[in-house]
Symmetry: C2
């Protein structure tokens, strides 16, 4: 760990303006936030009824009715508010702020007298608070509202929402230190990282302590969650007859003894986020070590090349080392968001660019794949290979969808993607006491300071299609370091300071440029050609196959470009790859051409097995970026291709 934790820059001081990212971030304000608002209010056509706002009105006593939706339905509003807050940071919008304020007003009305906030229990199980931690999601829901409140406070300066959520947080700190809840932990982690955000913005030690206690209790005896349903006052929510699986909730071992990423992937990475926060806040080296172990287990053995995690659709979970099936894996959008959140925290406390490499991978491939280019449909599950005909409900591929869905009954991903894209600035750069760190090399403008003197950075970036970023600095003499991440995929990086070649020192993957800044330009360029990537041969699903990457972008084959049956294709890894910018395609993108072969289907009509040796025909393969797949007509997609 560094002595000094790197800080995110307030989103009000950052404006992302980037030829790649604009297509996604612009969707948030223009499309997703208004669309999701209509969904929350049951006004969106073609989407499942959310009932989210209605639940709040019922809980507030403004309307008669029963609760509808999942037990964690409230979080749709929380994530929407968080996204709205971020959106307001770079686009003032009185109307949106008014909607948000009205929603906050409603939240306050729905809050119970003791600070409790959860419309499911208020409506359906009044008085039975915190009686089902493994399924009830009350702490998870509180966590998302706390995150939203912190975001709203930071952006607007208004503290009403923050105060509401402090009441909830105070209640939690009180209840979960009573004897009944001595060793209690939430079933779905989230409150821990949220309490750390609240601690950071309020300085209130009890929030940090509660987060620390939750993390330290997990996986220890007596195992609260495992035995919870034996309690007399247990409130059954899901009527799940399966026994509680400790590893599903990272509840199988004390966290410092966990060496492998286990269980539900989203829960896991949300826990790891809090562990990283607490490792620094409590200067707990053992906790940091655990984070490092878990991170390495993920990226060395349990992560898809796209930054996706969670190999099993059943329980949306991690399985075992090297088990990364391409057509049945889960790779939930939310899990990659959580991975990016975890990486960001690890980067903040280590200053190590390798975390930013993984963060970028997850964000630019999987989180973006989660959303259609029109911003109106979403993937929960992000498989690396899809054969639409076989993605049949009520089969093993029940969870795999060949086309993005309008809105799910369980709507965690869409608003989570929205809040992530809207807060991209928090991933893009950090500041230290006397340093500015550019992680993503994303285009845009940053207004910050170094040692008390203002500093404006304007970044013009050609990523991810070309390895070039130009940083213009303007200041009245700010003194300190500009740290530029050199991505792992950058080859032969060259630095120019005001046009002159320089050779900066490199620390943990960041080039360090020290100086007194007035009006200078720094240019980083590197080569970043499309190339083949292979998986560790222990990855059974990818043995004998290659993927194509260019910079951080993972590519894939789509039926639209390559015809039916992508499994019949081979790529020639000894032939050069061709790159072509296609203005007309998928909003403008670089496609990759490769030489390949196709197994002929000639003579196989009505024959399932035979002795005829496969006949191979020459063909050209066209790869497109994975993040943009599924934006044309429904068809097959494949990331890993057989090689010859």
């Amino acid at each position: 760990m560094r002595k000094e934790k790197l800080q995110t820059i307030p989103l009000t001081q950052i404006r992302i303006d980037d030829s790649f990212w604009n297509r996604y971030t612009s969707l948030v304000t223009k499309k997703i936030i208004p669309y999701q608002w209509s969904v929350l209010n049951d006004e969106a056509e073609g989407a499942e009824a959310s009932s989210c706002m209605k639940n709040f009105r019922v809980a507030a006593g403004l309307e008669k009715g029963t609760f509808h939706g999942y037990v964690f339905q409230d979080t749709d509003l929380a994530k929407w508010l968080e996204a709205a807050a971020y959106s307001l940071s770079y686009e003032k919008d009185k109307e949106l702020e008014k909607l948000a304020d009205a929603a906050i007003d409603l939240i306050e009305r729905a809050q119970e007298e003791n600070g409790y906030l959860d419309t499911y229990f208020t409506i359906s199980e009044p008085g039975k608070q915190f009686k089902n931690l493994k399924e009830g999601h009350e702490l998870y829901t509180a966590g998302h509202f706390i995150e939203a409140a912190v975001a709203y406070y930071k952006v607007t300066g208004k503290d009403r929402f923050l105060k509401i959520m402090r009441r909830t947080a105070d209640l939690i700190c009180e209840v979960f230190h009573t004897p009944r809840y001595e060793n209690a932990v939430p079933g779905h982690e989230e409150i821990e990282l949220a309490l750390m955000k609240l601690y950071e913005v309020t300085g209130e030690e009890s929030y940090r302590q509660m987060a620390y206690d939750f993390v330290n209790r997990r996986g220890t005896e007596p195992n609260y969650l495992y035995h919870e349903s034996e309690r007399e006052d247990f409130v059954d929510v899901w009527h799940d007859s399966n026994p509680y699986l400790n590893a599903y909730g990272q509840n199988h071992l004390p966290v410092r003894e966990q060496k492998t990423a286990e269980g539900h992937a989203v829960r896991a990475v949300y826990l790891y986020c809090a562990m990283a926060d607490l490792a620094y806040a409590c200067q707990d080296e053992a906790l940091f070590e655990a984070c490092s172990y878990l991170y390495r287990n993920i990226i060395e053995k349990r992560m898809y090349i796209t930054g996706g995690i969670g190999s099993s659709g059943t329980l949306e979970r991690f399985t075992t080392d090297y088990d990364l099936p391409n057509d049945t894996g889960y790779c939930e959008s939310c899990a990659s968001i959580g991975l990016a959140l975890f990486c960001r925290r690890m980067a903040q406390i280590t200053g190590d660019s390798s975390y930013a490499d993984t963060m970028e991978l997850a964000l630019i491939n999987t989180v973006t794949a989660g959303i259609a280019m029109d911003g109106r449909s979403f993937f929960y599950v992000n498989p690396l290979e899809v054969w639409p005909d076989s993605c049949i409900p009520s089969t093993d591929k029940n969870h795999v969808k060949a086309v993005r869905q309008k809105w799910f009954g369980c709507a965690c991903c869409p608003p989570n993607i929205a809040r992530t894209l809207a807060s991209l600035g928090e991933y893009a750069c950090f500041t230290g006491k006397t340093s500015v760190w550019l992680n993503l090399l994303t285009g845009g403008k940053i207004e910050t300071e170094l040692g008390g003197t203002g500093l404006t950075l304007t970044i013009d970036s050609r990523l991810p299609y070309e390895g070039r970023a130009l940083v213009k600095l303007e200041s009245e003499g700010a003194r300190g370091e500009l740290r530029l991440r050199i991505p792992a995929y950058a080859e032969n990086p060259v630095f120019l300071l005001d046009g002159e070649k320089i050779t900066p020192t490199v620390e943990k993957g960041y080039a360090v440029l020290s100086g007194v800044w007035k009006k200078q330009t720094v240019e980083l360029s590197f080569s970043m050609e499309a190339h083949f990537v292979y998986a560790n041969p222990k990855v059974r699903a990818d043995a004998g196959k290659a993927a194509v990457m260019k910079g951080p972008l993972v590519y894939c084959l789509e039926e639209a470009d390559n015809g039916e049956n992508l499994s019949a294709l081979y790529v020639d890894v000894n032939a050069p790859l061709g790159e072509e910018y296609r203005e007309d395609l998928l909003g403008g993108t670089v496609v990759i051409h490769a030489r390949g072969k196709r197994i002929s289907e000639e003579g196989w009509e009505n024959l399932l097995y035979g002795t005829r040796k496969p006949k191979l025909e020459e063909t050209e393969l066209i790869f497109v970026p994975y993040h943009s797949w599924g934006n044309r007509k429904q068809g097959e997609m494949s990331t890993w291709v057989k090689i010859f």
Copy 2:
């Protein structure tokens, strides 16, 4: 359809004595039947408690207690009795017959006054008969008892059990022709084929009519099963909150309009059995056409090379054409048994050897794989590729087991395998009015007649390791045809009659030898070298791969012979395959040697993805028969191998 349906030969007139099959059939009498009896009586160590006999004692009022086990637990006893009956046909065993008679006595005591027989409903839901056809399994259970009763009657000549089950059958014929049950069908097919067996042995038309009605009602409106749970008197059994899926129970279309094999694989093939029986019995050409279509859909598009069916673990069902995943498929042992039963019936009414080819494939590869060589453990699921580390409970591979299990709570497969092996003679040969048909070319002795004159056939077979079968005929001048199946895999078949080469005519894959038989020998020999087989390139899972077959045997790689990580192996399909009989291995078997390559794991430690091109090392591959896999220590197995 043929004008004349070919008949199975009574098992009392057949003795299988075959160097390959003896290892399995001998298990039935010596191991499986006694072991399963101990399981039924809750006396087997290490097996889940069955409670089967206890349920009968409770239902009979001989013991106090509640029902335990699955709703169809009774069928364990039914299948055991059927297997015991077959076993008695070739091995007289007073003790076994006594046990069986006592069990039949108990069944009679458990039978209700009106003929109803099902201990679950008698004990747990008295008076609520036939109030949940989709899950209740009462008709399925009755069907298995009818099959057992017919078998017991045929072998022992005792008709007590048959009379008991006629009372049940009569009740069914009555109830299911009342207005309430006007369009009712069973959720799990089985009663239809059982009623046809009962019809054949009793000549009672009402049984045939009931079977025909059940088949004709399926998939027609008003859809009884789909709307069943809306009935006021519906008895919930499984508390399944999922909506009823018509296709799951082949209830989506009238049977004559069904062109693809859909839904639960066992249910499907049990239905098709009855359809084939009825097509002949009612001379219903449209029904026969439907059978042909469904059969072709299976073997041309939806069957594993091992004769396994059912591509999805979820709902144990068919999915879509060419969707045959090797590591997650279901391939239930019972489904392959059902496929063999269907093929046998199609062969009986067509005289076409291609049905026997499929029947043999399913029996010799998957049904046998379902049982360990010690007869004490069983596979439900028969995957074509297993990586034990990834077969984790509560994941997508929950259903895949890397080692055979002692006995399951849901124990359909073990007793089903037992009754199938014990009745192998019914698959091995048929008779026509003036013909004897040898389908499997299995070694053994058959005592039958042709045109009223006795004929004894003694077969000495070298299959499946060598293409040679010697048939000795003895008769006082029986006149008629000997029909020998020429398997699809037989190359250059040569026939010798008393040592002289002959060239018989061939009809639908059977060589036809006509004559007046006294003391002659007929020898069929053919070459049957191990060779590579490929799948239709549309089978995504097998594209770019080959399997090895020799005759009807499918081979596979096991970790025991080829080391860890079978996915890293390639086989050279241009190099010759070597065959070696290994006396010491797996009870004596032919192994296949092949030239191959292995992707080196060197340099990949702690690296998940990288740009290093795969380095291939020369290696030798050893294939063993699929049916014998998993009989050494736990390890990986793979049927399809990458090719170069």
